[in-house]
């Protein structure tokens, strides 16, 4: 099992087999979730139709954090055991997580205009989300700046682990600082407080986003793994057998 993850070629095959499953899964879930969320589910009694932004906003927020947790976890595995696939996973997660973080910021900002009367408010959750986005950017910039693949992976892993500190801050910022943004209503210890007519489409959308992200990550990992080996081969060709 572990060896399948440690050996790039075997992992490529595994990934190639999994991508269609998650890809089609995402398509089906979106086919159910999008109409349900955007058309069928009732408008909010307070917010009207703008509440539909939630079905993109909230899953993006969850996934951007989940992706960072994955990035941190994969980095830890790479740092300790040096599994190349863990590094590939980290590298693949970063841009995807960054996109979701950006989506969260963009949809939140669009939502904030009608709800709070402003595009942006410097409250704790919003700011810590922005910090998360910057961490993703920092991670990618650091990797891009170091030429040697292995060294870049090491440095990136260390930074990603340090950035994990931000996750609990985002999650609990609304509880710690009493601010504008709404507190958690789905993922909380005493059960969700959101109405079922909104909860179910939200969960389907969240699943759809998750499937999409998983498919993208596997695709990304596979492509990068193939690209790395192709480059190594090209190099060997130019350099010939000896030095």
């Amino acid at each position: 099992m572990w060896s399948a993850f440690a050996n790039p070629e075997r992992f490529e095959r595994l990934a190639a087999r999994l991508v269609p499953w998650f890809g089609w899964g995402a398509v089906i879930l979106f086919a159910i979730g999008l109409p349900w969320a955007l058309i069928i589910s009732p408008p909010d009694y307070q917010q009207g139709d703008t509440v539909r932004i939630m079905y993109v906003h909230v899953p993006s927020a969850w996934l951007s954090m989940a992706a960072y947790a994955g990035l941190g976890g994969a980095s830890f595995v790479y740092f300790i055991w040096r599994h190349n696939v863990a590094d590939l996973a980290a590298q693949a997660l970063a841009p995807i997580g960054a996109v979701f973080a950006f989506l969260t910021l963009a949809t939140g900002s669009l939502w904030g205009r009608p709800m709070w009367g402003t595009w942006w408010e410097w409250d704790a959750r919003l700011t810590s989300m922005l910090v998360l986005f910057l961490l993703y950017l920092g991670y990618m910039a650091l990797r891009a700046a170091i030429e040697d693949e292995r060294l870049a992976a090491r440095a990136g892993a260390i930074l990603a682990m340090a950035g994990l500190i931000n996750l609990p801050i985002i999650k609990f910022s609304v509880d710690w600082w009493n601010t504008l943004h709404q507190p958690a209503s789905v993922i909380r210890l005493d059960g969700p407080t959101i109405h079922a007519s909104q909860l179910w489409p939200l969960l389907v959308m969240a699943l759809a986003f998750t499937a999409l992200m998983t498919a993208l990550v596997f695709m990304n990992v596979r492509n990068m793994s193939l690209a790395r080996r192709a480059e190594a081969r090209a190099r060997r060709k130019i350099e010939g057998g000896e030095g």
């Binding site: 408010e121 410097w122 922005l130 910057l134 920092g138 990618m140 891009a144």
Partner: protein
């Protein structure tokens, strides 16, 4: 002419690659603009009033960030000697370096400035005017930063020295760009004048700074 183009292409490439090119300063500006309100506090009136100045200041800081690398590495690894003995004059080289710096690294500043202006609560036309002001100011900012970079090349903690040399010289640009934004915001009709001033400063810098840089570099080589 060909040699000049070769230098530009190379410098552009070196500036774009490695540190992530424009991503670096862009992220720096974003970070600075994100942190300032955290510091100033969320009052929208204060934020809007502060926006033109804060954004101009962030662009100034962003232009300083890369200045150290503009000549520092070239001095320590021998590249500057190579250029000094090449068919390209140090004056031309300096102008080219600044141009490469603007076009490879600093170009997102007006875009970010526009977005930030909106986020700080400025209206669209004012944000646009501010952003145009940044476009006109960028060459000036880059040239002055480059001049400071040439003077401080290879000195310990050159980064600081550069900030100290460049920032005062860039103050007029800061005032003009912030002035564009404020004038547009308050509708005083002085936005155009401030734009002209920012452009004029950039032109003056283009005429003078490369000679200053070349002289500074010659001194650093001895």
């Amino acid at each position: 002419m060909k040699a000049l183009r070769a230098v530009f292409v190379r410098e552009w490439r070196l500036a774009s690659a490695g540190g992530g090119g424009p991503a670096g300063p862009a992220a720096f500006m974003l970070a600075a603009l994100a942190l300032v309100p955290l510091a100033i506090g969320p009052d929208p009136d204060i934020l809007r009033a502060a926006a033109p100045g804060v954004i101009a200041f962030a662009a100034l800081l962003a232009s300083l960030q890369g200045a150290e690398r503009m000549f520092g590495d070239d001095l320590s690894d021998g590249t500057l000697e190579l250029y000094a003995l090449s068919p390209v004059s140090l004056t031309a080289l300096s102008a080219i370096k600044a141009a490469a710096y603007v076009s490879a690294v600093l170009w997102p500043a007006p875009v970010i400035g526009f977005v930030a202006a909106m986020a700080y609560g400025m209206d669209g036309p004012s944000a646009g005017a501010l952003s145009l002001g940044l476009v006109l100011a960028l060459p000036g900012l880059a040239l002055v930063s480059g001049f400071a970079g040439a003077l401080a090349a290879g000195v310990k903690r050159a980064g600081l020295l550069i900030a100290l040399i460049a920032a005062p010289l860039q103050v007029p640009l800061l005032v003009f760009v912030a002035g564009v934004g404020r004038a547009a915001l308050e509708g005083t009709g002085l936005a155009g004048a401030n734009l002209m001033l920012a452009g004029a400063f950039s032109l003056a810098a283009l005429a003078l700074a490369p000679f200053g840089m070349a002289a500074a570099l010659k001194g650093r080589l001895e």
